[in-house]
Amino acid sequence: MYQYDSYDQAMVDARVAEFRDQTRRRIEGTLSEDKFRPLRLQNGLYLQLHAYMLRVAVPYGTLSGAQMRMLGDIADKYDRGYGHFTTRQNIQYNWIKLEDAPDILADLATVEMHAIQTSGNCIRNISSDQYAGAAADEVVDPRPYAELLRQWSSFHPEFLALPRKFKIAVIASATDRAAMRLHDIGLRMVKNDAGEIGAEFYVGGGMGRTPMIAPLINAFVPVDQLITYSEACLRVYNRYGRRDNKYKARIKILVHELGLDEYRRQVEEEFAHLQTLAIEPPLAELERIKGFFADPAWETGLSDEIDLSNADFARWVAANTVAHKAPGYAIVNISLKPIDKNGKAGIPGDATADQIRIMADLGREFSLDELRVTHAQNIVLAHVKKADLFALWQRLVEADLATANLDQITDIIACPGLDYCSLANARSIPVAQKIAERFAAPAKADAIGELKLKISGCINACGHHHAGHIGILGVDRKGTENYQLLLGGCEGADTSLGTITGPGFDENGIVDAVEKATNVYLANKEGEERFLDTYRRIGMAPFKEAIYG
């Protein structure tokens, strides 16, 4: 994985010093809250319901054992012993003191981590495929391109006061595991007929109150023009994105209002101009970065046999491991949607400091010292020898990290909701827990199979409810929490947006409604159909009838 050189380290250290100075000025009174707010946000520091919240970047979701361990230590030293992994592959701490924030950033910098641009109206942390470098279906490893973009976007002086936040994802396989087309810019690395690598540019996707799937604006941007093309996309947005209404300020609205062809024309014009300026890093820089992501020396002659005589282990292997590109290896998902022996569900995405450190150790021991954070709020050990799976599983069981439910109805994405978030209208976590508990019996969840359920506590859609096979949106109805149900969303290759079923429900009502929807699926399922497939085939009507009839 990528390692800082003295330049990268100096930049991150400078950022810590800058924020320390800004924080001091705020506390001493020469910097007002109005002026400080965007600065702290661009260092990941929010003011939330109960305290300050710090969002730490995990660039493209990849981190080392030492970095993961530091995340656990920070949870103990500065927070209340836990952290929350987010849908953009970051981690959040909920109980931060402003006066500690510069020290936390300094601690992070010692392991080449930071919180740069994890919030604010700027280019955010670049996300990617959590299986990068391990997936059998990728054209190339997308992370070097994400790192190239990370450096370009860090402190870019022209783009630090954009109309609104700006999220970029980079993937390199046909299967989209990063919700790429629901980003402001999505890049898919592809190979053309001549065998050259380039990027498809999708621009103008997003969730929020106006969800849109990003259209393709360029089918092949050569690999030596990625930065220049991105800069053109951003400049057009910075100049012409709406600033009169924050709900219409995302680039998706600009692309929609200008029309795809006109936006593309403006980008191409700006691109032609920027190409004359030589702002693109040389290919040697990309090669330098790629060197950090070269395949490790896979052990050869490994067996693909796994002893599945332990039934719990067998179920975990079936649910939580994925095919690896190298023989004898597997990709392991550690679910952060735990359900304990008594059927009690945990908080989606949360992990204790001890669990974080245990995962760090397991990453070091079993996965070539590399971990991933997924947009589904789980952790991945990308390179585990199949022969080690049983030993790894036993260690996960001891740490309450062995729940076998990947992509099942209990593997719920949920935003922090009204329990933590100052923007939320309703709580998300208790709803997630109640649904997970309703389907806690493994046989029940297994029968339903793949079903991606996503919950947001407000229209901002941090819980990706538009993209859930089943989505739930919490709203405020005259001071009480109310939950709307959506069906048919999907963030994968065949991206689609969910449709609201009808009137909303209270907390218990929404759990019942979800169960009714799954019953309709089970009654109508044909062959190997997933919930989403059946929904797409039979449509909304039978579901509506079961839920409201």
Partner: protein
């Protein structure tokens, strides 16, 4: 109009009165113009030769359109004074400079010591903005 507090170019700040972009016709004698965030600075490109001052306003520091305005004027070869004015805090100074501004006139004067610290935060830069004359880190890495 606020005074120029920071000048990153030789000589004195241009004293000529500015006219609005809309009044800056091809046949005007004006040598100084002021651009608001929503205006297209490329309208000035045919007239760069006779311009001594372009003032780019920042009515709100959260509106970053002026950064693009500055860069594209410099990219087109403008060499006169490029002044940022308005709601400007010390933490913007380095970014303004990197986008090609060489004069800053904050609506409220800034603390000189704080400004000095803020201007010297970054040891290096990641991007080639070209217009600031700084070599980006990738160029240093590869001896460009």
């Amino acid at each position: 109009m606020a005074d120029v507090q920071f000048l990153f170019r030789e000589g004195a700040a241009v004293a000529a009165p500015t006219v609005a972009l809309a009044d800056f016709g091809a046949d005007s004698n004006a040598t100084a113009v002021v651009i608001q965030p929503g205006e297209d600075a490329r309208a000035l490109l045919p007239h760069l030769d006779r311009l001594a001052l372009v003032e780019v306003t920042f009515p709100a520091f959260t509106d970053g359109r002026g950064f693009s305005t500055a860069r594209l004027l410099r990219e087109a070869g403008y060499t006169g004074e490029l002044r940022a004015s308005g709601d400007i805090g010390v933490d913007m100074l380095s970014h303004l400079k990197r986008c090609g501004f060489d004069a800053v006139a904050p609506a409220t004067p800034l603390d000189a010591a704080e400004a000095e610290t803020a201007l010297n935060v970054w040891p290096q830069v990641y991007q080639a903005t070209v217009v600031d004359g700084r070599k980006p880190i990738w160029a240093l890495r590869h001896g460009k």
